[in-house]
């Protein structure tokens, strides 16, 4: 026999322990649910939810099902994460580069920003923006318009809405432009590798992305108009803006604090990435006659990105998970709508918490699988 007893026993014991713990939990859960008269099942998802949600991207009211409420929460979570990731990336890259600036004032300023925001708990920052800073904003009737049509008030940010006609044609034209650019880029690369000729790819790309959508306006019958928010009186002292798009203060506070907080971590990733490229690489590139721009584009950035991207994706994941703190300021995200309100109403603790966790888990695991694949693809293969 090849098996050694010493190899098998530890594994057996571990598995046995895990099975025992799970078995113990399941047995207790069954007993408890029987005693309290709760039945286990996911059937409640199709029942009428009969609660309302303050802010929703899809049409929703109390007559919709719990599953619809779940979707509302999930979409709100995704919305906050996407906006947060967008701003955090921009801010993080700027601050990360600023930390490497030769200008003493700028890099100290960036360092101050990073040290300041990342050493304060995120929840505290969210509370600060929501309960202290945004409460200092004017009431709707006193708000001064920004750019003439946008109002930042204590009740949220009111911006004009786009009203499209034939939006699908515009959308297809943008997609077509992007596909054309990808085709041209690959073709240009092939041409350069085989014949050494360079094609002005950038110029063609900019042209395509401008001209095709423009054509859709001229020929395709796409029309764009704006709906401006207008002040409306609800009661003698209560005003609100109608029309346009309104972003609730919870969303603003949440995205603000999430981006300010996560940007500090992204800044550190960017800094580490750029510093991680050896000095010799830049010198070697300069010595074979590349211009500073080419050095940055062809030598430094590809290597820096290899270091920057994996930790940055981790930060994106963290941001998405941190967006669940929304529950603390009553922004209707997945945790608040589903693990909060829906749980209170149905009392189905195990089902709802497991669905919520599973959703986040799916999100994270799929991104980490993608990341691992990407990591393997770009990793330098060393002997």
């Amino acid at each position: 026999m090849n098996f050694k007893l010493k190899d098998i026993i530890p594994q057996l014991i571990t598995v046995l322990a895990v099975v025992l713990v799970f078995g113990f939990f399941t047995y207790n859960a069954q007993v408890n649910m029987e005693n309290r008269g709760i039945d286990f099942g996911y059937g409640f998802l199709s029942q009428e939810s009969s609660f309302d949600v303050q802010f929703s991207l899809i049409e929703y009211d109390g007559s919709h099902s719990y599953f619809r409420a779940y979707l509302v929460g999930l979409l709100n979570t995704i919305l906050v994460s996407v906006i947060g990731i967008f701003f955090a990336t921009i801010l993080g890259v700027i601050v990360g580069i600023a930390r490497l600036s030769p200008n003493y004032l700028i890099n100290q300023f960036a360092a101050f920003y990073v040290e300041f925001f990342r050493n304060i708990p995120l929840l505290l920052q969210i509370f600060f923006w929501y309960f202290a800073a945004l409460r200092a904003l004017p009431l709707p009737q006193d708000a001064e318009p920004m750019f003439g049509v946008t109002y930042l008030t204590i009740k949220g940010l009111f911006v004009p809405a786009f009203i499209w006609q034939n939006f699908n044609i515009f959308f297809y034209s943008v997609v077509a432009a992007i596909i054309a650019i990808i085709v041209i880029r690959t073709h240009a690369k092939k041409v350069q590798e085989s014949q050494g000729k360079q094609t002005p790819v950038l110029l063609i790309s900019v042209g395509l992305i401008l001209i095709l959508p423009l054509l859709s306006f001229l020929i395709g019958g796409v029309r764009l108009s704006f709906e401006v928010p207008v002040l409306k009186q609800l009661a003698t002292t209560s005003f609100i803006y109608e029309g346009g798009v309104s972003l609730p203060p919870e969303l603003i506070a949440l995205t603000l604090s999430l981006s300010l907080y996560t940007a500090t971590f992204i800044a550190e990733c960017v800094r580490a990435g750029i510093q991680g490229v050896g000095k010799g690489q830049k010198e070697a590139a300069a010595s074979i006659g590349l211009t500073p721009n080419q050095v940055l584009k062809l030598v430094v950035m590809p290597q820096a990105l290899r270091i920057i991207i994996p930790p940055t994706t981790n930060q994106y994941l963290n941001l998405t998970k941190n967006s669940s703190l929304a529950a603390a300021i009553a922004y209707p995200d997945l945790v608040l709508v589903f693990a909060g309100t829906a749980l209170m109403q149905t009392g189905k603790a195990i089902e709802i918490v497991s669905i919520t966790m599973f959703t986040y888990l799916t999100l994270s695991v799929s991104i980490s699988i993608l990341m691992n694949w990407y990591n393997k693809r770009i990793a330098i293969t060393e002997k």
Partner: protein, 480 residues
């Protein structure tokens, strides 16, 4: 004096350019300062747009004039090299100088000049500045939560005692240095546990649990003297046997009262709170998450496939979910999984949840350190005839842990910053207390002061931790 070309400052007219440039720069800074500190606008006669931009333009021209390479003046060269390398940098430097000047007066007046410190009621807070009276009045609540005022000396005393016991490492002589690891890993946490559960809580809380701890510690200490051959089976059997022995044969039910200190009232954990709770939770989670994380890091790199899969599953599960849902689980779902008459205090549940959660992150950090070690280290240890445990304890882990000090410090920082989330299970540490105080009808409208106060405290704690970890990293850095 040779011809001066104002578009091209050079060294030949150094003093002219230097005086002119410094003068312009000085004027621009003066303008902004006057504007900011005394709200007096010397350029008020100009149209609004120009008056706003004038300091920037003047400062820019001034910096342009003094940007002379290799001027020979040491201070000027230093200045040029640091803040004035080109036009773009000059503008950015100016903007930052202006932002700093502009932001000093409002911050200073809010913090100190217009702030109110005296008194003990809301009436003194009439100024436009911060109302630190609010913090002063609520200080005890922010520090100790709902812990009875008369009993707060217990928390203070425990914390002082633990701080003193924790600093033993600094005073230990060489003779005792080798026992320090044992002290910090086993004895100190045990003493801390005793202090907090019997002194701060003041009751026989979880005495059952403490049997387990005594059994574990006794068996580990004795385990050092067991020959290697039997160690595995020893750890398999003895701790459990000891636990059962302690629980059912040595301490009878009537003796459970042994765990209670006379004269101390029992304070339930629901009343704990404030900053002291932040410390208690951080401390215990820190102690628990480290060994659990280490075990799973080793498990993930283990040669046994089943153990590896279980470890991977554990780590990826906890890393994939937000802490708030974990705490939700510990609050609403976990009681369903326990026998009906079995009750675990919510503070303990929160500590278990946070420890397991952070353990997954610690595991990944330690795995990084284990992977970074060259294979030669493993092979050398094996060739000396070391077994798995000996190899890891004496060769691999000391090196790997040294490598991952920054990562572990970051995880611990994240842990401290995550403690406010325990509001989910209904425990109120300092941020939770702030939110409670904010809704008190007598003290409405001081949210800002409270959050700034908490932010300063957290910032000091976290910044000190990160600096300390940086020092540790430098101290243990070994050249390879």
């Amino acid at each position: 004096m040779s011809k001066i070309n104002f578009l091209k400052p050079d060294k030949t007219n150094l003093s002219t350019f230097l005086y002119l440039g410094s003068f312009l720069f000085f004027i621009s800074v003066l303008d902004v300062s006057l504007n900011s500190f005394f709200s007096y606008n010397i350029t008020g006669f100009l149209p609004g747009f120009l008056s706003f931009l004038l300091p920037l333009i003047l400062g820019f021209i001034g910096l342009y004039f003094i940007r002379i390479e290799l001027s020979g003046n040491k201070h000027l060269d230093l200045l040029n090299k640091n803040i004035n390398t080109n036009n773009f940098n000059a503008v950015l430097s100016l903007l930052i100088i202006f932002i700093i000047i502009k932001s000093i007066p409002p911050i200073l007046s809010w913090f100190y000049i217009d702030a109110s410190f005296a008194g003990d009621s809301k009436d003194v807070c009439t100024g436009s500045g911060a109302c630190w009276t609010y913090i002063k009045v609520w200080m005890r609540r922010f520090m100790y939560g709902m812990y009875p005022n008369a009993e707060q000396w217990r928390i203070n005393l425990s914390f002082i005692a633990l701080a003193l016991l924790g600093s033993v490492g600094y005073f230990a002589t060489d003779r005792f240095k080798k026992y320090l690891t044992l002290y910090y890993v086993v004895i100190y946490p045990f003493i801390a546990f005793l202090f907090i559960f019997f002194f701060i809580s003041g009751g026989p809380v979880f005495f059952d649990f403490s049997y387990g701890i005594i059994a574990a510690i006794l068996s580990i200490i004795v385990g050092f003297f067991i020959p290697n051959k039997f160690k595995f089976y020893y750890f398999l059997i003895v701790p459990f046997a000891l636990y059962i022995l302690l629980k059912y044969f040595i301490f009878y039910e009537e003796l459970v009262e042994l765990g209670k200190l006379e004269g101390l009232n029992w304070v339930e954990t629901g009343a704990w709170g404030g900053l002291s709770l932040t410390f208690i939770i951080s401390f215990f989670c820190l102690i628990f998450c480290f060994p659990i994380g280490m075990a799973f890091a080793l498990g993930r790199r283990s040669g046994f496939p089943l153990i590896r899969y279980i470890s991977v599953g554990f780590i990826e599960f906890w890393r994939g979910v937000p802490l708030i849902t974990v705490l939700f689980m510990s609050a609403v779902m976990f009681p369903m999984f326990l026998p009906e008459d079995f009750f675990i205090d919510k503070l303990v549940r929160a500590i278990i949840a946070i420890s397991l959660f952070e353990a997954a992150y610690v595991a990944e950090v330690i795995r990084g350190g284990l992977q970074a070690l060259p294979r030669g280290q493993y092979e050398a240890a094996k060739s000396l005839g070391m077994g798995y445990w000996k190899m890891h304890i004496f060769v691999i882990l000391p090196q790997a842990l040294k490598l991952v000090i920054p990562g572990i410090a970051n995880t611990f920082l994240a842990l401290v910053k995550d403690t406010p989330l325990i509001f989910v299970v209904g425990l109120l540490e300092i941020v939770g207390m702030l939110n409670l105080a904010k809704t008190n009808p007598e003290w409405l409208g001081f949210a800002m002061e409270g959050y700034v106060f908490a932010a300063i405290i957290f910032w000091i704690i976290c910044y000190a931790m990160s600096k300390y970890s940086y020092n540790l990293e430098q101290k243990y850095k070994t050249d390879r």
